[in-house]
């Protein structure tokens, strides 16, 4: 539900129907594999059985001899350039430590070879016929092992670049401070410290990674890919395969969820090379098993937070240390680590002395990458538990302690400038923050005053409530770039062309709504074409909660330019002053009431006088990253006999600026909370002592189903971000930060134990209860 209905707008702030909704509910062929191309080859990958090994010999002759095998790829016959699979802006802040194929494998599931064949069955048979002789190397299977002096070196290759210290398995090292924490702690009356660990977790988009590649009629390579970053795919694949960028076209059709997993350029190189070698279409679709074992996961982290406060509850010093496990390759290693500090610490800007430092380390474990929340989720776990602990030590209500210390409208934090995406950030002032209202609404809905600290019992079940507060960002300032093109058609409709990538989020719909709002037409008159590198203008892609704010601003600017052109043509037609004209109901109206329809304006411009195409392209590189804010509350019951935690109720009050489409904004929050509750309670990739994922199925890796969802309510708090398009800022990621600390704090309220390792399984709860007694 919406806190206060926004009435300033006609097209935004309304629940416009999802523009791809009709096709999706009727099962129209909209996804990568829903089209068939004749003579398509099927590509399968041979995964490494070892966590760490050198390939001494690889014999593919038997595989190549199998009828129906079109080509076999290994390190011997493929490009050897090192690159990063991280689909980030150029130059990427991730190390160039990956190759299409290497003579060394670094995790169970790493690429050894690939086969393209007439059928999937033949490709699988051919994989079995590849003979590989390995020299098995000692593996590094934890962050402690990785940092141990004398640990096996995972990336000793000389041609890798961008690694902080390969000889010590350190991908990235971050160390920034504001003020002086040593003095800060010395001056503090109360100090608390908390260390938490998070697990290996996978995005599990229901559609796995998939790409269909083919040559067009001019022999250009087309990659129809399930990606969040079509333009980065084009650039990175051009580099890897040594092709000019203009020889590649990337098309993103509808895609079945991403959550960061598809910010990775994971498979397009293989399908693309098969197509280049054979001239034939190639389909590469990861299985669910491969999705768990060989794609990307969330960085497991160990994060320590130390807080110092004055007796009156003013935070005085914060220290946060994060050790992040990037697995075998350093994709997003530096930036996720940076975000652990940069998206959490500014929230408590009353602390004058702040120190954030940490390392991202290689292990011979599954490869981490971008995942909704992007490091902030891991940082909020100890931070928001430590705040609760501090409140208890100071004997202050946790709500009050947070109110006293959180950032407010008109304020800034030195962290904004000190810590950006793997480099310095950008200083800015927060211009919208309805966190106080969010806390108030959430507290009322959960019954904070009545229920907190009551420890109501029902048999072995004890009830508790907890909360936490959060911020995220809206895009990456001075790095992200988005562009939009709008052109007018002679029936008064408009084409909106955006590079922005709708991965199910509804961005095509809301970008259309922005256009409709500025141009005074119904949303149906805006035809949105997105994510085709040949047709649409550039956009960095769907990540960092950027699309609404960054792409939305580009769209708003383009629409305003087009509006001016429309008005100038209409002024000529009506013989009126342009400044006095308005657009409403698809008409340009002069003060005295004479008017022309938008269709007439376009026809005039196209066919009659001073002919030209009404249209414009605009760009946006944001100067700041306005944070959305959220207060998250839960009521839980803990079974003291079995250790089971039941979430009875979950309340989220969120300030995302103007909700351009409230229903879709709620949907983003609901989905991220569901994902977050799974991450808090059930989701965990279990890894064997040899580095093998032991539960690579949706049966053994438990994501929440409809029966598992607690009753919950999302409140969109009325807010307006002056720098955003129509007052909007981001909403996509922030929700996932809430469940872990919120549930942990509720469990503490119920049974007095601090859970410091996710997921909060019954075993861990029971162990914590035992330790306490």
């Amino acid at each position: 539900m919406k806190d206060v209905q926004n009435t300033r707008f006609t097209a935004v702030g309304k629940n416009a129907r999802k523009i791809d909704g009709y096709g999706l509910v009727t099962g129209k062929p909209m996804f990568v594999t829903d089209i068939d191309l004749p003579r398509t080859l099927h590509v399968k990958i041979l995964p490494s059985p070892h966590a760490h090994a050198r390939i001494l010999e690889i014999d593919t002759s038997k595989a190549e001899a199998i009828a129906g095998v079109a080509c076999v790829l290994t390190h011997k016959n493929t490009p050897s350039r090192r690159y990063t699979t991280a689909g980030q802006g150029y130059p990427e802040p991730s190390p160039y430590d990956s190759r299409m194929f290497d003579d060394k494998v670094r995790f169970v599931g790493d690429r050894v070879a690939a086969v393209a064949a007439e059928t999937e069955a033949i490709a699988l048979e051919a994989l079995k016929a590849i003979a590989v002789r390995y020299e098995v190397l000692p593996p590094v299977l934890s962050i402690d092992e990785a940092l141990c002096p004398g640990a096996p070196v995972i990336h000793e290759e000389e041609d890798a670049t961008g690694i902080y210290d390969a000889s010590r398995n350190i991908v990235a090292d971050v160390d920034i401070d504001a003020g002086d924490v040593v003095r800060g702690f010395a001056e503090s009356d109360v100090i608390v410290e908390m260390t938490c660990e998070t697990q290996y977790a996978q995005h599990t988009p229901i559609e796995p990674h998939v790409v269909l590649s083919y040559l067009d009629e001019n022999r250009r390579l087309v990659l129809r890919s399930s990606t969040q970053v079509p333009f980065h795919v084009r650039r990175i694949i051009a580099y890897v395969l040594d092709l000019p960028i203009h020889q590649i076209r990337v098309i993103k059709p509808r895609i079945g969820g991403g959550f960061g997993a598809k910010q990775e350029v994971l498979i397009e190189d293989l399908a693309g090379l098969v197509t280049l070698r054979t001239g034939r279409p190639a389909l590469l679709e990861l299985t669910r098993h491969e999705e768990f074992v060989s794609s990307r996961v969330r960085h497991p982290m160990r994060v320590r937070v130390k807080l110092g406060a004055k007796n009156d509850g003013t935070l005085h010093a914060i220290e946060m240390e994060a050790i992040s496990n990037t697995g075998a390759y350093g994709s997003h290693g530096l930036t996720v680590l940076s975000n652990t500090g940069s998206k959490t610490l500014p929230l408590y800007n009353k602390a004058e002395n702040v120190h954030f430092f940490g390392k991202a380390v290689y292990t011979n474990l599954p490869v981490a990458g971008a995942y909704r929340g992007y490091g902030a989720t891991q940082g909020y776990f100890p931070l928001e538990m430590a705040i609760d602990e501090l409140a208890e030590r100071l004997n202050i209500d946790p709500l009050e302690l947070r109110r006293k210390n959180h950032i407010r409208c008109g304020e800034t934090s030195p962290i904004f400038e000190k810590l950006g995406e793997g480099r310095e950030g950008v200083a800015f002032t927060v211009k919208s923050c309805e966190l106080p209202r969010a806390i108030e609404i959430g507290a009322e809905k959960i019954g904070w005053v009545e229920k907190r600290g009551k420890r109501t019992r029902e048999g072995a079940w004890v009830h508790g409530i907890g909360m936490s507060i959060h911020m995220q960002g809206s895009g990456i300032p001075r790095i992200d770039m988005a562009a939009a093109t709008i052109k007018m058609n002679e029936d008064g409709s408009f084409n909106l062309l955006v590079g922005a990538t709708d991965l199910g989020t509804g961005s095509d719909t809301i970008l259309g709504q922005i256009t409709a709002e500025v141009l005074g037409v119904p949303s149906e008159k805006v035809l949105v074409i997105s994510s085709d590198t040949d047709i649409t203008p550039f956009d960095t892609g769907a990540y960092a909660s950027s699309t609404t704010y960054v792409s939305g601003t580009a769209v708003e600017r383009a629409a305003k330019e087009v509006r001016e052109q429309v008005l100038s043509v209409a002024a000529k037609m009506l013989g009126a002053e342009q400044a006095n004209l308005t657009i409403s109901d698809e008409r340009v109206v002069a003060p005295e009431g004479e008017n022309v329809t938008l269709a007439e304006v376009c026809q005039y411009a196209m066919y009659q006088v001073d002919q030209f195409q009404i249209g414009a392209t605009s760009s946006c590189v944001p100067e700041e990253s306005p944070p959305p804010f959220m207060a998250s509350f839960a009521e839980v019951a803990v079974d003291t006999e079995t250790g089971v935690i039941k979430v009875l109720k979950y309340i989220v009050a969120i300030d995302c600026g103007t909700a351009l489409n409230p229903q879709m904004a709620e949907g983003q929050v609901e989905g991220s909370i569901a994902n977050g509750i799974g991450y808090a309670l059930t989701e965990e990739m279990r890894i064997s002592s040899k580095g093998r994922v032991r539960n690579p199925t949706l049966f053994d890796y438990k994501i929440l189903g409809s029966l598992d969802m607690p009753p919950f309510e999302v409140i969109l708090v009325d807010s307006y971000e002056p720098t955003g398009p129509m007052g909007a800022k981001s909403v996509a990621e922030i929700g996932i930060n809430g469940p872990i600390p919120t549930i942990a704090n509720a469990v503490y309220d119920a049974v007095g134990v601090r859970l410091t390792k996710t997921p909060f399984t019954p075993e861990k709860v029971l162990a914590a209860l035992r330790d306490r007694s």
């Binding site: 629940n15 129907r17 999802k18 791809d20 909704g21 009709y22 096709g23 999706l24 509910v25 009727t26 099962g27 129209k28 062929p29 909209m30 996804f31 594999t33 829903d34 089209i35 068939d36 995005h203 599990t204 988009p205 229901i206 559609e207 796995p208 509808r254 895609i255 079945g256 969820g257 959550f259 299985t287 669910r288 991965l503 199910g504 989020t505 509804g506 229903q663 879709m664 709620e666 949907g667 609901e670 989905g671 991220s672 909370i673 569901a674 994902n675 199925t697 949706l698 049966f699 994501i703 929440l704 189903g705 409809s706 029966l707 969802m709 919950f712 999302v714």
Partner: protein
Amino acid sequence: MQIRIIVNGRPVEREIEADMRLLDLLRDGLHLTGTKEGCGEGECGACTVLLDGQAVNSCLILAAQVDGKEILTVEGISKGNTLHPIQQAFVEEGAVQCGFCTPGFIVSTYALLKSNPAPSDQEITSALTGNLCRCTGYVKIVDAVHHAAKLMHQKEGRSRRAL
């Protein structure tokens, strides 16, 4: 081997391999690509179709097993260009995000509302427990099923009145 089935009301005869999955027959053989594969092991429900009225995972059933039977896929739910009330409700309630799981949910909902035209929250979440969605958190899907039930009830009322 030869099979004869009815798919979305139309008779189909096909020569198939004995090990072909029903999912592959639908997607590759009949180009009914609305039915999706999300896991291939019966866990996600993206491949749900109705087999003689029962919701099943088409990735776990061989095409050979359905000889003589009737299949309904998401493509068979709407009539012409008019959305079925379930589809209309999914769009209106915002129950669709990426849409990859949606065909499976719509088919499961169709089966549920056939047998239980006014289900409770609990009955809905139980009936849909075989369908996973990673985007929505299920809130708006449950809303959509309620909304669909109402739309179907109204429609039935209208057609009864028309008689």
